[in-house]
């Protein structure tokens, strides 16, 4: 990896890795070097555990946006045996920020829907860095309905900074298309499995995020607003001090969401983050997806929809009981 590819808090890891590489290439004569190499390898594992076991929320956000983090289309290559992309939204155009299509995952035929952020500059510009327009949400729903018609499970992989905030997006009904998706996904008559693989940016994520299982990769985040947006509103500007404060306040890490009862599982990433080993990340993701699909395979549609309804019905925290004006209180 180029030095510019690593995040500030990963510096020590890379320095130690460089040292290790130097020793390994120099290895030959003295027996002492082999011992030293073993020692550094052990230390490196400990260092990664230490750093990655205690990421701050803002560091987690940075990892979720790491330039080498696996993207939707990497998973398509690594764990789906086939991908027949379906481009049309039947109204406006082909939004490259949301990809849909038939895919095979193990023994399952599924409809895969996900955000694609792009790797190269050209790809990124083509899909607005993973920020979908109304067309993308319309396309997603069109293909979810197709899935339901043939009882194919839907797999949604979420990775977006948010729905695109632009003039055209508003003219073409960004809020309307997301609203429709939320309502229709909540009652879609086929299993729906969602995983946040990187960024879970607000309504843009939720727009393909209602399912029977909702999980997150370990270092993904999922939030009502981006840390930058939150910092801009509450601290008047998104700065290097306010962004970490906002990330902390929002409780946006996978562990936070598990604690709040919003997600089913935290899907572990390789030591040091998904960007260090795409294949291992993909294999773990595949294991979880297959488990969900097997779990849901024999559930009747009636039970499935009831379960999905209750899953979201439970969400939220409030108090009930007597109230004196101006005092938050009462019994839970």
């Amino acid at each position: 990896m180029e030095p510019k590819d690593y995040l500030p808090f990963e510096k020590e890891i890379y320095e130690m890795e460089e040292l290790l590489a130097r020793l390994e290439s120099a290895e030959g004569g003295q027996g002492g070097v082999a011992d030293e190499i073993r020692r550094i390898r052990r230390e490196l594992v400990n260092l990664k555990k230490k750093i990655y076991g205690a990421l701050t929320p803002w560091q987690t956000v940075q990892v979720s946006r790491h330039k080498n983090r696996p993207l939707l289309m990497d998973y398509v290559d690594l764990i789906f045996d086939d991908f027949v992309e379906l481009h049309g939204d039947r109204a406006i155009g082909d939004d490259r920020a949301i990809r849909c299509g038939f895919a095979r995952l193990g023994d399952f035929r599924v409809v895969l829907i996900g955000h694609q952020k792009g790797r190269t500059l050209k790809e990124k510009q083509e899909c607005f860095y993973g920020c979908a327009h109304p067309e993308g949400y319309r396309k997603a729903l069109k293909n979810m309905r197709l899935a339901a018609k043939f009882r194919l499970p839907v797999v949604c992989l979420i990775d977006t900074p948010g729905a695109f905030p632009g003039i055209g997006a508003e003219e073409r009904g960004q809020a309307q298309l997301i609203a429709v998706n939320l309502l229709e996904m909540s009652r879609l008559e086929t299993p729906v499995v969602c995983v946040v693989i990187g960024e879970g940016g607000s309504g843009g994520a939720l727009g393909i995020g209602i399912g029977d299982r909702v999980s997150m990769l370990e270092h993904a985040y999922y939030s009502v607003i981006s840390p930058e947006g939150c910092a801009g509103i509450l601290w008047k500007a998104a700065t290097e001090t306010s962004k970490p404060m906002a990330a902390e306040a929002l409780r946006l890490t996978s562990r936070d969401l598990a604690k709040l009862g919003v997600i089913d599982d935290v899907i572990p990433e390789p030591l040091g983050g998904a960007h260090r080993d795409h294949r291992e990340t993909a294999n773990t993701l595949k294991t979880y997806l297959l488990r969900y699909l097997r779990d849901l395979r024999h559930t009747t549609i009636k039970d499935l929809l009831e379960g999905r309804y209750q899953k979201f019905r439970r969400m939220g925290v409030f108090e009930t009981g007597a109230w004196a004006n101006g005092v938050v209180g009462g019994t839970t």
């Binding site: 508003e170 609203a179 939220g316 938050v328």
Partner: protein
Amino acid sequence: MKANETKRTLAKRGVPEGLWIRCPQCKATVFRKEAESRLNVCPECAYHFYLPAGGRIAQLLDQDSFEEWFTDLSPCDPLQFKDRLPYAERLRAEQAKTGMRDAAVVGRGFIRGRPVIFGVTDFAFMAGSMGSVVGEKLTRAAEEATRLKLPLILVSGSGGGARMQEGILSLMQMAKISAALGRYDKAGGLYVSILTNPTMGGVAASFALQGDVTLAEPGALIGFAGKRTIWNTVRLELPAGFQTSEFLLQHGFVDRIVSRQNLRTEVANIIDYCEHG
């Protein structure tokens, strides 16, 4: 919040107070009592001023017909959210200012003799944003409307959409209320959504735009992303009238723009058309 700070905030939000109010549209100075006698509409230019939940109920529902439900729900602070002010303190200040526990009021009432389930979000309470209490109340309203087979009328006014201070739980309220409205729809219920100034973000992207019939008051700000966010992203001047009721009508996302004085009659008429016969 200090008293003078409250006053400033109210003034900034265009909430009528004092004897005179200044119309943000035509800049006329209007006698407050006169505006109130005209349903909080500017007598000079018909600008629709902010209307609190109580005023909305009084204008839209038959006199004394409203029975408020789920009044025991109070917000709490599940995230221990803290910015410059802890959320718990912010809530207390908003409650003291408005006399409300949270931004939504729901219940049952009558519109020209027709029974309805009714809900409204009040912009004065944390900009009408949706946290757990708002989401729960609206969801219960939709569930009761399903159970009682009654029309559902929701009036939305929310500047912020999903409430930041309850984090992901606020986002999930969008899912929760959408699911309840999905069931209500499937059961054949009529949902009339009334959009008022402003209806933005996660509120627009959920219940506000899931109506069978979507009405909007004239001149309301309605949209997904805030203007500043859009400008920061695209750096283009926004077209005149961008994200207004009229803009949404022109682009096909609102069925009718209805001025406040006609709202009750129009809603009653729509209910009559959709009555299962």
